[in-house]
């Protein structure tokens, strides 16, 4: 069975639907990227799949005993709380020093155990969050805009890391990105969300073309790919701002 499946899910905030009639499922080992403009319900979808939000209609069914590794979009550690990286990795369950050091090394921040969480840079913080998620030995990694604030080589490096982790552990990956067109090339599927699922497909790997090199420069080593949107419907009313002319980019 699917790791998590959502059936005809509608989620409302104060009676206004943020997601309507979304069907979604993710299989073992699959990498799925969810893209969409701001306010399109990406985080809402993740939080509904996590069980934080209860859908107004429809059902979300996780596989029994599913282990989830979650990397939230923002985690602000209040400066009033002293907490070392090592202590953070042991939340909520105690992890041995060896496990911690292995996880930190895996994500490229080895030896960070005694640092204070509030002293980490944005990129280091993301990696520690990922290390903590991996320590749960997840069946599925759920990441909410993990590359926010990283530059393009940083994004590419992070995507390569996620891909390697998937290849090593076989966990599924569900990743949200605010970038509509440039996605992780290892994605098996890209879902474009805007209150509902607008379109779904595989990213186009164009890393060999000169245009790609012109667009991304060198050093991303094929970690990025373009996603060509294929929207077959128009929105009415208040959804006019929704951009259905994405195809231009892919043809550039």
């Amino acid at each position: 069975m699917s790791l998590i499946s959502a059936k005809d899910v509608t989620v409302c905030y104060d009676a206004a639907p943020v997601l309507s009639h979304v069907n979604f499922s993710i299989e073992s080992g699959e990498i799925v990227t969810v893209v969409g403009p701001n306010g399109s319900g990406k985080s809402t979808l993740l939080r509904t799949l996590l069980g934080v939000l209860t859908p107004s209609k429809g059902t979300v069914t996780p596989k029994p005993g599913l282990s989830v590794g979650y990397v939230p979009q923002r985690l602000s550690v209040d400066t009033s709380m002293p907490i070392t990286v090592s202590r953070f990795l042991s939340l909520p369950h105690k992890k041995s020093d060896a496990e911690q050091s292995h996880a930190l090394e895996r994500v490229g921040v080895q030896g960070f155990e005694t640092r204070q969480m509030v002293d980490l840079s944005g990129g280091q913080f993301q990696r520690v969050l990922l290390a903590r998620a991996l320590l749960a030995k997840p069946d599925i990694l759920i990441l909410d805009e993990p590359t926010q604030g990283l530059d393009q080589p940083g994004v590419a490096a992070f995507y390569r890391l996620i891909e390697d982790v998937r290849n090593e552990t076989g966990c599924a990956v569900l990743l949200v990105s605010h970038d509509l067109h440039v996605v992780m090339s290892a994605s098996d599927r890209v879902i474009c969300l805007n209150g509902h699922i607008c379109c779904e497909g595989a990213p186009t790997v164009v890393s060999e073309t000169p245009e790609y090199r012109a667009l991304f420069g060198l050093g991303t080593q094929g970690a990025l790919a373009l996603y060509q949107h294929a929207h077959d419907h128009v929105h009415d009313g208040d959804c006019d701002h929704h951009d259905h002319a994405h195809e231009d980019h892919a043809n550039a």
Partner: protein, 260 residues
């Protein structure tokens, strides 16, 4: 040993510090300072209820504090700005309590005992109540510690780890009401929030982990209680405020010691 009023007072102060240290750390981390105020001010309303119904003051304050804490907890989930609502609730509860006490016939009430504490008059029974309450709160926090910490850092992160953040908030709410009920005798309704926040804030500068901070807060709280009592004895100052003043002095010395 317990025959000596000073020994009883010292034990009462240490008992309160034991519970207030770890709970106060959460109050600081979650920025719930005003929450503590509202809950402790409601205790005065509880005193009025207890006197009115001739029940125990401990029970009255516990019920009132619990009611207020649950109300505030519920309001905070409505997502509105809490500042004004908390201000209204905290001060109305205090004012209503004071008004209600003035209506009670036939009882000579020493109001200042409830507002500022009456630690030098702690009886053996009081001591039993204080230590039972403190041990229940400390045990509760110890039991839920990891889940509480995770939920404090990030609700969604907690949920993904199978922790229900609402349940953990309820644990803190219950613990807060219990601490208010046991601490009113020691520092009084007006200064309970100070005993929660100041020792924890002082411990922050010396701590590298949440556990260090909680233990440090117990140490500072206990030291403040003893120092305040000593000061009260030798300088004839009111005991509750002296304890809080001692805590403030510890906080001042801890400034500039914030470890990165």
């Amino acid at each position: 040993m317990l025959d000596d009023f000073f020994v009883r007072a010292a034990l009462a102060g240490v008992g309160v510090a034991l519970a207030a240290g770890p709970l106060g750390s959460f109050v600081v981390w979650r920025r719930m300072a005003y929450f503590g105020d509202a809950t402790s001010h409601a205790a005065i309303l509880g005193v009025a209820m207890a006197l009115g119904f001739s029940s125990s003051v401990f029970l009255g304050t516990l019920v009132a504090a619990l009611g207020m804490a649950l109300l505030v907890n519920m309001l905070s989930h409505k997502g509105h700005s809490m500042d004004t609502a908390l201000g209204v609730l905290a001060h109305s509860a205090l004012a209503l309590g004071l008004v209600a006490i003035s209506f009670i016939q036939g009882v000579r009430v020493d109001l200042s005992a409830y507002l500022f504490g009456d630690i030098l008059a702690v009886s053996r029974l009081d001591l039993l109540v204080i230590w039972s309450g403190a041990l229940v709160v400390t045990g509760l926090l110890y039991w839920r510690w990891s889940a509480l910490l995770t939920a404090t850092l990030n609700r969604d992160l907690a949920q993904a780890s199978g922790i229900n953040p609402r349940r953990e908030e309820l644990v803190l709410t219950l613990a807060l009401a219990l601490v208010v009920a046991v601490a009113i005798k020691v520092v009084g309704a007006l200064l309970i929030a100070a005993m929660l926040i100041i020792p924890a804030a002082a411990a922050r500068g010396f701590a590298r982990t949440p556990e260090h901070m909680a233990i440090g807060a117990i140490v500072f709280g206990a030291a403040s209680a003893l120092a305040g009592l000593g000061m009260s004895l030798w300088l004839d100052t009111p005991a509750g405020p002296s304890i809080v003043a001692a805590a403030a002095a510890f906080f001042a010395t801890s400034l500039g010691r914030r470890k990165a």
